[in-house]
Symmetry: C2
Subunit: 224 residues, 2 copies
């Protein structure tokens, strides 16, 4: 009984979420605001990549950030300190964001004046992959110290993303991370995924990430 009821409820909630996600996506399509969902394990560099991004695109693009955390507001504070509209969603134990939570974030930001809103999802390589947030693009970070075997272990996350950022390449010298094997594993799960190698610490590869973002925002604004 327990199992059957759980499945019913989960399906009901997931179907609500799919509807809500479609609404968010459509709403931001109208305001020409690209919504980007950034996911990774804890400590892979989501906040660092966002800080690099707002620094690089200051003046060129109007950016807002929705930070999610189970607890604490440290990330939103760091982003806001750069003069970017930032909002902290505290999930209170929830292990992922869903479209309803993102809607609350979007409501609180003046999105129609923004070109790009980046959602920093909860640090978790599992659950966030299961819930459509309403984002137009899904991006994941995998950092070198996490190891090159992660596509084998967390396949769904690699499957749902448009872009895979390999961060902390400055650690490659201390690591046995096999980039060729990692790329093969990721591409075998998702042949259309774009893979970029960066170091948020040294700035290596960040130009490629910024170019990708600019091109995605431009393409999105060109859509009717």
């Amino acid at each position: 009984m327990g199992d059957i009821r759980l499945i019913e409820v989960k399906e009901e909630i997931l179907s609500d979420n799919i509807k809500q996600a479609a609404e968010v996506r459509e709403r931001l399509r109208k305001t020409k605001t690209l919504l980007l969902n950034l996911m990774s394990s804890p400590g892979s560099g989501k906040t660092s990549l966002i800080l690099q991004t707002v620094e690089s695109l200051k003046g060129a693009m109007r950016i807002g950030v929705i930070e999610a955390d189970i607890d604490s507001t440290v990330d939103a504070e760091k982003v806001a300190a750069r003069g970017v509209p930032a909002l902290q969603l505290r999930t209170g134990g929830f292990c992922h964001l869903d479209a309803t939570m993102v809607t609350q974030g979007v409501d609180a930001l003046a999105v129609k004046e923004l070109d790009l809103v980046i959602i920093e999802n909860v640090g978790n390589l599992v659950c966030p992959a299961e819930f459509d947030t309403g984002a137009h693009k899904n991006v994941m970070i995998l950092s070198v110290p996490e190891g090159d075997d992660k596509p084998l272990k967390y396949p769904l996350m690699f499957s749902v993303c448009d872009l895979l950022v390999v961060n902390k390449i400055d650690y490659l010298s201390l690591s046995d991370f096999d980039m060729a094997a990692f790329r093969r594993r990721a591409l075998s799960l998702n042949s259309r995924i774009t893979i970029l190698e960066v170091s948020c610490k040294t700035g290596a590869g960040i130009r490629g990430w910024i170019d990708w973002l600019k091109s995605e925002v431009a393409a999105f604004k060109g859509l009717e």
Copy 2:
């Protein structure tokens, strides 16, 4: 409606899990088999620590390993290659282990001939902290590249663990990880937690971990 039903079901499942966890714990108390639940983010070094452990304790202690992964059997294969009884639980998308899954693992190992069974939980700093697996001791790993702010963001995990292993201290030279600040943050959440610093790669600090394990197993066997 959806919310209310979800809460009912979750409570029902959690209360079932608490009962099941108590049963596993009692069953292994009778066979004097210490059950240890190892948790961390993806890539923090759970499998590496287990491999170091079976290598160090070979001959001194009879160890079994229950590996959990959403997909793949690579971890169990690595452990089994060292001649240790190992079992892979594939959670099929589930983001954590619960006591029922652990019971299946315990059923499949000849536990009464083992002194120590280590569960490698799903790589996730959120959900596994919420579910009692039936383990007698909970251990978490936090690796240096994940950052010293993680206690602020994932407080529950730090709160439920008896031991915190800080892994990858060989990365400290490349990192701005502040060990003193990290220790303060972890201890403010859980004043009774033991903190050990190790590098599974270089072997630094592993002796302290092995000593802790030996002393816990000895104390457990001495219990009536």
